[in-house]
Structure formats: C-alpha cells, structure tokens
Amino acid sequence: MIRSKARYRLIALGAVFALVLVACGGSSSKKSGSTTPTTPTTAPLGQPASGTLVLAAEQEPSCSDWIASCAGLSWGVWTMQEHTMPSAFDIVKDGSGWNYAPSILLAGAPTLTTSPSQVVTYKINPAAVWSDGVPITSADFKYTWDQIANGKDVYSKTGYENIASVDDTDPSTAVVTFKPNQSYGPWRSLFGSDYGVWPSHILAGKNRDAMTKNGYAWSGGPWKIAKWNRGVDVTLIPNDKYWGEKAKISKVIFKFIPDTAAQFKAFQTGEVLGVYPQPQPDSVDLIKKGLPNAKSAYTADTGSIEALWMNNAKAPLDSVPVRQAVAYAIDRDAIVARLFGVLGVTKASQSLNPPITAQYGDQQAWAGYSLNLAKVAELLTGDGWAKGSDGIYAKGGKKLSLTIVTTAGNQRRELTEQILQEQLKAAGIEMKIKNQSADQLFGTTLVKGTFQLSLYAQTNTNLDPGLCVIMCSANIPAKANSNSGQNFTRTGIPALDPLLQTVDSSSDNALRAQNQIQADRLMAQNQVTLPLDPLPNIAIWSDKIQGNLSDNPITAMFWNMNTWQLRG
C-alpha cells in the first residue's frame, strides 16, 4: 500500500517536473512536432525567409470575399487582404501627414484628365504577376470594376458606380473613364484600399463569392493565405512570385484573441509577439503599467473620430441653442485626458474630419465650444428653458432630458457616457443611458432615427475627405434612398450640401479643401454634432521583431510585414 502511494507521488512529481522541463527548454517541443511561436527559429539578417511569427488579431473577419458586404471588418484587411491583394496606391507618410503614393503594381503615377469626362490611365508594372506567374493586366482592373459596380451584395459601390468603362485593350494599360458629370475626387482610393485588384484569369465567369469567402490560394501581394482555421487563426506564407521586397519570415500566424486582457497576457508570456488592441481603458491601463521587452507606437493621427452624434430632427435637439448648450456643458478635453492621457492624447477633436484628412478641413472649427456654464444658461434661457427645483432645466413642464445610446459592452464608450452624464447634470441637463447591441444600433436605431444622442466612431478607410455621406441632406435615410443613407443625425442645412458635394466630386485638391473648410465652419456654427476624440491607434510588438515597425492609419501596424525579421 505504502509502496503504491509512493509510486503515485513519484509519477505526479515526475509529471510536474516534465512540464517545467518542457517550459524551460524550448527546443524539446519542436522535436515533438509542435510549433513554438515564442522561440521562433530565426535566421541572420539578409537570409531567406525563416521563423514563425505569431500575432494577435482582435477580431476574425466574417469572410474573405472583400467585395461582399460580409467583409466589412478592418481585421479582414489587416490579416489577409492587404498582404494578398495588389493595390494601385499605397498610403505613406508624407512629411507630417499621410498621402497616396503609386504602388509597385504601377509603372508610375497614373495620368488624370478631367475634361470632358474624368479619365484615369493606369500603366501596369510589367513585373507584376499573380502567385501563379500570370501577369497582372488591365483585364484584372476591368473585372474588379465590373464585380463591384454591377455585382449584388457589394460592401460599397462608392466611386465604382461613377465609372462608365474600363478599357483593357492594352493589357499593360487600364483606362478608366468616368460617366459624364460624375467625376470622382477620391479616385486614388479606387483599385486599392478595401478591395484591391482581383485576378480575372482565375475568377471570371465563376462564382467569386464561393471561391473566395473562406480564403483563397492566389495572391498578388507579398504573402499567400496558407490556411484559415475558422475561429482559431489564419496563416500566411511568403508569395515567392512577388515582384517587390520578398517576405523574410517563413510563416505569420494571426491568432484570433477577442479578449483584450487575454491578448496582453499572451503578449506578456510570448505566445504572441504583437498586438494591435482597441484603445479601451483596460489596454491603456496595462500600457501604463509597462510591458516587458516591448516596443510600441501610439498615435492619434488616425482615420477615426468618436463623436457625440445628435439627432437634429428630434426634439429638443432640433433646436440649435439646445445643441449648442449641450456642447458648452461638456468639458471634452477632460474626457479625452481621462481616456487617453496615458498615451499622450489629451486634446479633444475640433473637427469631424479625422486627423488623416486634416489638410482638407478646418481642424479648429469646434474650438469655440469649451466648458462654459454661463453660456449654457444664456442659450437655454434664451430658448425658453428655466431651471427647476431639481436643478434640471425644463420648458412647458417638460424636463431637458436626453437619452444616449451606444454599443453595449464597449468599456471606453460606457466610461465616456458616465462622464458625460455627470458633466451634463452639473449644467442642468439630464442624460439617460440606454445602450444596445451594435447590430441594433447601426441596423435599426440610427437608420430609423429613434435616438437623441449616440456615441460611436466614424472611420475613414482612405485619405480623402468625405462628409457628404453623413451630412448631406440627400443622405438622410428615407424612402428616396431606400433607407440606405447614412446621415443619421438628419443634418439638413441647404448651404452645406453643395460644399460637401464639391469635396466629393472635384479632383482639384485646393478646391476641395476650400469647400471643406467652409463646410466645417457651417456645421460647427449649427452645432450639428459634437466631435469628441480622435481614437488613437496602439501598436505593441516584441523586441524579437526587427524592422521598420510603425503604425499606418489605414493598413495598421502590419503594412510592411514583408520587411520584418525575427531575431532569436
């Protein structure tokens, strides 16, 4: 009996010892055939691709048919699309701002003519080939345009609908002609950004969606999708036919880790070597505490603006003085400092243009709206409101009570709501919180206009200004636009529409900027909504990754992954 007990103890001790031994010696698990991402096999700089890099991905894309409406998540672009789809333009740092630069898909900058119709001529780099060795040609541009402009269930047809034809007579030259009077200012975002250029020789005449929604083997970028293990990870391997700088790591695995805390812990243990988390209070707090062996980049120079969106058509926010009073009741800098002060972001946004399109707008348009309780009292009293015994303004027996809605479960937004609630109460305005799922908010509430205040971010996926889609009166959801308009705030200022339409259609950047600045000032004057904060991007990576790692507002920290290397 005693011997038997001793044997069991010995076995248990042995098992624990074995686990510790395995943990201490990274090479032992390699022998058993399992991958060890935390101890990547690395090669000296300049050697052929080697090593396995594991990165965290916060969300899993729903599908990889980038043209279809199921492919709306940015993580789809960051994990697969930008690494496998050739794109006409890259988004590069240009001095202090971001700009378009012709990519290596092109033989040079495209030529643009604007009269009588807008025509863009793309010369394709003769070295550009798909991963099967077939050259990328103008037929691919034509196929891409046709699929987007004429397809069903397309994520967005913006810009492609304006194109009348794509001439593919010369395989090395794609001539894109826009419809008369339908010129498109942000033309550089076409055949790039979200969609890229698609291989007609593989997909023409076939069901594109069926062939691509769960991943695809072909590539026109530095990486190929080796495997998409739904719910678990996606693996990329180098595309050896890529005509640009070839990938230096033999395998990149994006692990889907939806929980932010788990992402950070995985980074701390070396299970993943890079994270790109949402700027939530949890992640900001963890950064404040410090992460070992980590390098990072935080920037507020992004494509996102979080704002307090106001329903201009719903009482009492249909009154300009009430909207202005709300703006004067809020200390926006205090909110931003509380949310992102640790990252060095302390100032509120003063424009609805995200920082990456700053050169087009008046980035100080809302600067006049700062905390001023005397101004709140003056505006509300002037509009017929009087403070009640409970300290809340009322008019005609009705309290100045507003309800805010945002995406339930988002810590940052819930914290913002709590701060807003306190600040507004101090100014005599009651605010109730009634959050919903993202699906309900964006699918129903905003479309139907059954809200007063809403808190969410507007994100640009290109470098062009484009507020018409959310501010022009023609885009208020209505029967006329099949309820597909995105002017959820129901902003309807007649003088604003032509300004924003010009910004969308003109290819003269100076004219676009001039109109956008006027539009910004008009919107601020009417206080159509209240910009709060630029959402910072947070990129954190292990010092085991070498290369020029930095953030890109559109393609995230992964934009130049083919140039990265791993050190032992």
Partner: protein, 323 residues
Amino acid sequence: MLSFLGRRVLFTIPVVLIASFVLFIFVRATFDPTAQLRSSHADSASVAREKERLGLDRPVVVQYGDWLGKFVHGDWGQSERTREPVFGMIRRALWYTVQLIFWGILLSATVSIFVGVYSAVKQYSPLDYTFTGLAFVGLALPPFWFGLIAIEFLAVQPVNWFHLQEPIFSFVGLHSGDSTGFNLDYVRHLALPVLTLTVQIIASWSRFQRAAMLDVLQSDYIRTARAKGVPRRQVIVKHGLRNALIPLVTVMALDIGALFGGLIITETIFSIPGMGRLFYESLLAGDATVLVAWTVVTALFIVAFNLLADVLYGVLDPRVRMA
C-alpha cells in the same frame, strides 16, 4: 427495461418539439434575418426578395414547419454573418466544446468522487474541513475571474519568476501555431480552461457526493455488511460508493447537458471557438439563422442528457423502472 426506455424516449419527443417551437418563435421575434442585408444598404426590393426567399412573409407556424423539415435533413441555413452553412459552423464549434466538456467532466468526476468519499468516510477530520472550506470557496469563484487569475498566476507570472522561455501552460486556443492532435502542446493549452471549467463543478459535485455517501454509510445494509465482517474497503467501494453514485450520476448528466451552451466566458477568455463563443458572436451580429439552430441544438443536448439521467437512474436503481 426496454419498455422503460421506450416510454422515456416517447416523452422526450413532444418536449423537443415544444422547446424548438418556443425557441424558434423567440429568436424570430427578437432578431431579423434580413438585418445584415438592410445594414448593407440594400434597397427595399432586395430586402423584400430576401424575406420571400427565407419565407419570412408567411405565418410563423408555417415558417417553423418549413424550418423543422429542413433542420432534420441537415439543412440549417446559411449564416448571415459569415455566409457559411450553419450546420458546419455548429459542428465545428461543438467539437471544441466537446473536448472541453470531456476533459472537464473526467477531471471533475474523478476529483469530486474522491473528495466526496474521503470527506464522508473521514467526516469531521481536518481534511474534511479543508475540502469543505475549499468547496465553498470554489462555489463562490466566478469563472471569468478565476480564469484570468489562473492565467496570471499559472501562465504569466511563472515566466517571470522562473525566467522561462515559454509559459508552462498556454491559454490561447487549444494548440500553438500549426500543432494539431493530442500531444503535450494540447495538454498545456487544455489545462487552464479545463481548470476554470471544473472549479465550480468539483466544488458542487464533491459536496453532493459527500452527502450521498454519508446517507449510504449510515444505512442499515452497510451496518449489516460491517457486522458480517466484510472488509472496510469492500464496504466503502462496493456497497457504499456504488449506491452513493446514483444521485451524483443524475446531477452529472443534467450538468453536462447544460455545459454545451454554458461555456461562453471560458471559451472567450481562452480564445476557444466553441459553442459559447459562437453564440456570443452570433448574438452581437444578430445572426438569426445561427441563433435559431444554436438554441435548438443546445436544447436538444439538455433534453438528451435529461433522458440519459432518467435512463441511468433506471439502470442503477431498479425501483425506478418498476414505478
């Protein structure tokens, strides 16, 4: 025995039908299968066409009948979020959840029975008090908290304390990188989620087992066996444990059924794409087709394991079969 089994199975059929009908109505009333299409700026004609295709323009009872017919033939529709066949999505998620449940139940049953029997046999001993105290602590530990604590102290901190090259236990998914199958890597990934899953179960089952064992040990036939000189080990294991297991087996079967849909937090913390995470993601996206199938499959498991509990009870205790 066969007629007992037949009766139980027959009773199950209306339960399944009623449950599936109620769940179908509930999901249809709460989520709109065309919401995704509408939010992708489709025109009203497209939405109307989609409603017609999905049969949403028909009475809900007709919709249910149509859905049930397809469901039993394995056609569970297509996810509005991922465009994948729902059958495949649920099968894939079930595989991950089944792995967690299998190992979790194996560990829980082993530990709980051992602890329960020991506590009953050595009632009021220091170890019994220790187990009792630990059981109450275990019952009070919320899985989301325990999971994060387990990650911190069993995975993250040991790397710093012992300067390890990699953590002893991993906590992202069930394998690292390209590793597959049953190997050491799998065990290292499985340890923490299984521990998180089992803490509350062990706490609860061990208390149950202790109470059942105490009841049995105080019964007349055990006294008789002891009086007849049956060895102590044989009295405890053969006569005591065998009978004390009957109520535990019932509780186990009921708990296992509920686990198929109840691991949302564990699966999210440990990035395991099982049934819980599928539900959570589908709920956030308002993916009605997945939600209908998910709720019905989960209900089916609960009903099936209830049936199993009934049958096992009948097998273990002949008096139940006679009733």
